[in-house]
Symmetry: C2
Subunit: 429 residues, 2 copies
């Protein structure tokens, strides 16, 4: 029976869930895993504003990280604080003193992974982060422990539950963004300040981690194209339905040779696509490997117990590593010859909805601009307005270059017959 | 850089795929995993009837297992022969000589796992079997390495691609079983002798492994209720559609306290259920844990490269274990106090279709029999025949006891107004 003492940093939703699982399942883990895991310390910011203090014995709590850093009996530090500081400093200090770190903090990992990895390698400490992407869904472990023999060419997923809840409601109930956001906030699915979710930052953090792992190349957040869901309207969903599509906020990474593209944006998916039927706060990720082909993993991407389940699975995994932790191989960091080319001018299908004046030559003028920029059109849908003098025209393109489409749209917006570019939404197969 | 020599037993679809991945990805695995993996020997039955001999250098092949058993440089044996003997003897001899075994052979594992486990523990050899269930889908690793902190209460999945291909065709194209089976045989999706697939034996082998792992209790194949798909008719699919259901061959395991039930049978699922939309040869498995809630894994459940991908992931995983392999904890084997109760009188929803004589009192007589056996009815659908004197009545029950329903059906078949019990299909939520 091996014994490990664990410290938990942060005692909110995830931290308290980790404490609960480690305590309630202590006997099971001894029996099945031959591990005697105890929570030795819990770090909180202060004792006055912590709502969960009643969930653990008073003597476990501390407000001083030194109590953990200097306790040599603590070999595993679970970080569930969120945000960059002080999480970054605490993680670094733990790794530098040889303690293994398990974290659910996607923001700090996406911004400081390489720094952590370097510190961990120096002392031989472990660094585990399954809970940062997809909550309880074992996405990262599937890449590291089940797809090792695969060259992964694509990751594509719904990895933010808040936005998927909002988009599901907008699609199924025909409501506007603002109305559904207010409902999500009432239900606790969206924060009072929803920016991190609805503007795609949370998905961007996660995609940085997910694509770095899948492609063995460090994908910092500033190379990720990011677009949130705040501009989506009821009309977008109506148009999508007419054409047989759902709209989802997708995180997408593709690799072809050394060329990698990474992007987060609202995406139209055929209603028959498995990701199109992922509803509410659920998450799902597609992984495509050259040997295994498509794998999809589906489950709860957030919440106390699912995320804590992933954290505890990392803790147990780390214990079984017998002090021999493995580290990421980033092929594009200084000193590696196999340089990665980041693709910003990616190829995609575009759905463009315009408001135009009903007059002879309108369609021809617009189609001509697309053609001049090398953008081929697949479907066109024109719906007249009640006023009889304007229409909405929706164009679905074939796969086209992002930059060419953007240039075409600049020219189109300058046409006299075009009153407005109402929306531009990318689509994936 | 650690070096490992691997032997492959059997060079059919999976064995040759393993050779291909280990050879083609040799450089990647050195670079990313710090492992130098070479295939040292390949065992074949004879040299005259092996179609894949041209895929590897002649000097690697042998027909004599001793060449592998006695080669001390070979530390990992990959068994892809299928069937019980000689696979069982070879696996045992390999484990007894301390060689780690990786297998894709569900039949031999479901029948001799405990024997293998015992042999492996004695010498400290590893025993890995991810490829036995769900082809390339990391189902077993998810249980052992990502759900360790969960008490798993349910596994439910489509784990036989051949039958799912047949059922998908029957559902979508309204064809009969025999016609679609012939088509599946032509396409190579079904064997010349299709019994193992269509009678549910293959799914039973896999469920034995899957449920043993999920419930930490040895589930031998003879405790599994098994029913194949050969009796399903076009009428069953038509009735299912009318009621809003798909029909799938499901492998189901449920655990409540120490009570476990395991069964393989055609199952009606609401069309909105995620498993209902798993089409063709794809596989998918639901796992329900107390912390993580529902997880679904989806992908290719068979085929050369997907299955070989899982085998190679086991080989790499075994190499990283540094000689410290973990073993299953079966809680119901001799010497364990925590005895498991196997439930044969399980609870289920039943869809019963009868052919009856159209006369006053028919419905009342049948409903009365169900009532006397404590079976409550939820939906009833009666459709008259063209002859005007007979009808088809379909009853959907609420959840009821298997034995009570069987007893009711015996009494119902004796009623003068009942011409035939045309089908009985269970349903799951």
């Amino acid at each position: 029976m091996k014994r490990f003492q664990v410290a938990i940093l942060g005692f909110g939703t995830v931290g308290s869930g980790v404490y609960r699982i480690l305590t309630e399942n202590h006997g099971d883990l001894k029996h099945r895993e031959s591990l005697d895991l105890t929570v030795a310390r819990i770090l909180v910011r202060d004792f006055t504003n912590e709502p969960n203090l009643h969930l653990a014995p008073r003597q476990l709590f501390t407000t001083c990280f030194d109590d953990i850093a200097q306790d040599e009996n603590i070999s595993i530090v679970v970080e569930c604080m969120g945000g960059v500081e002080p999480a970054r400093s605490f993680i670094l200090r733990a790794l530098e003193s040889g303690k293994t770190v398990v974290t659910s903090n996607k923001e700090v990992m996406s911004k400081h992974w390489y720094e952590f990895e370097t510190a961990a390698k120096k002392t031989g400490a472990g660094l585990y982060l399954e809970a940062t992407v997809g909550g309880g869904i074992p996405i990262l472990r599937t890449i590291t422990d089940s797809m090792q023999a695969n060259n992964i060419s694509r990751v594509m997923g719904i990895i933010n539950g808040t936005t998927n809840f909002i988009l599901t409601k907008m699609s199924e109930e025909g409501k506007d963004f603002a109305e559904v956001l207010a409902q999500a906030q009432q239900l606790g699915y969206a924060e009072a300040n929803p920016t991190a979710d609805v503007e795609g930052y949370d998905a961007m953090y996660k995609l940085s981690i997910l694509s770095s792992m899948a492609f063995h190349a460090h994908m910092p957040i500033d190379v990720i194209y990011r677009e949130g869901i705040t501009k989506l309207t009821r009309a977008d969903f109506e148009t999508a339905k007419l054409l047989g599509y759902e709209i989802k906020l997708l995180a997408i990474g593709k690799k072809e040779g050394n060329r990698i593209e990474v992007r987060v944006h609202p995406t139209m998916l055929k209603t028959t696509h498995p990701l199109a039927s992922v509803r509410g706060v659920f998450n799902a990720v597609f992984l495509t490997g050259h040997a295994v082909d498509d794998i999809m993993l589906y489950g709860r991407g957030a919440g106390c117990m699912p995320t804590a389940s992933a954290v505890v699975s990392d803790v147990i995994y780390a214990c079984h590593a017998h002090g021999r932790h493995r580290y990421m191989t980033f092929e594009n960091i200084p000193g590696m010859s196999d340089q990665v080319e980041l693709v910003r001018d990616f190829r995609c299908i575009y759905c463009v909805r315009l408001k135009v004046t009903d007059q002879p030559g309108t369609m021809a003028a617009i189609a001509d601009v697309f053609a001049r920029h090398g953008v081929s059109l697949k479907d066109v849908l024109q719906l007249g307005e009640a006023d009889g003098c304007s229409s909405h025209i929706t164009f679905m393109t074939y796969e086209a270059q992002e930059f060419a489409v953007q240039a075409a749209l600049r020219d189109i917006s300058a046409l006299p017959c075009v009153r407005a570019i109402e929306s531009v939404i990318r689509a994936e197969n």
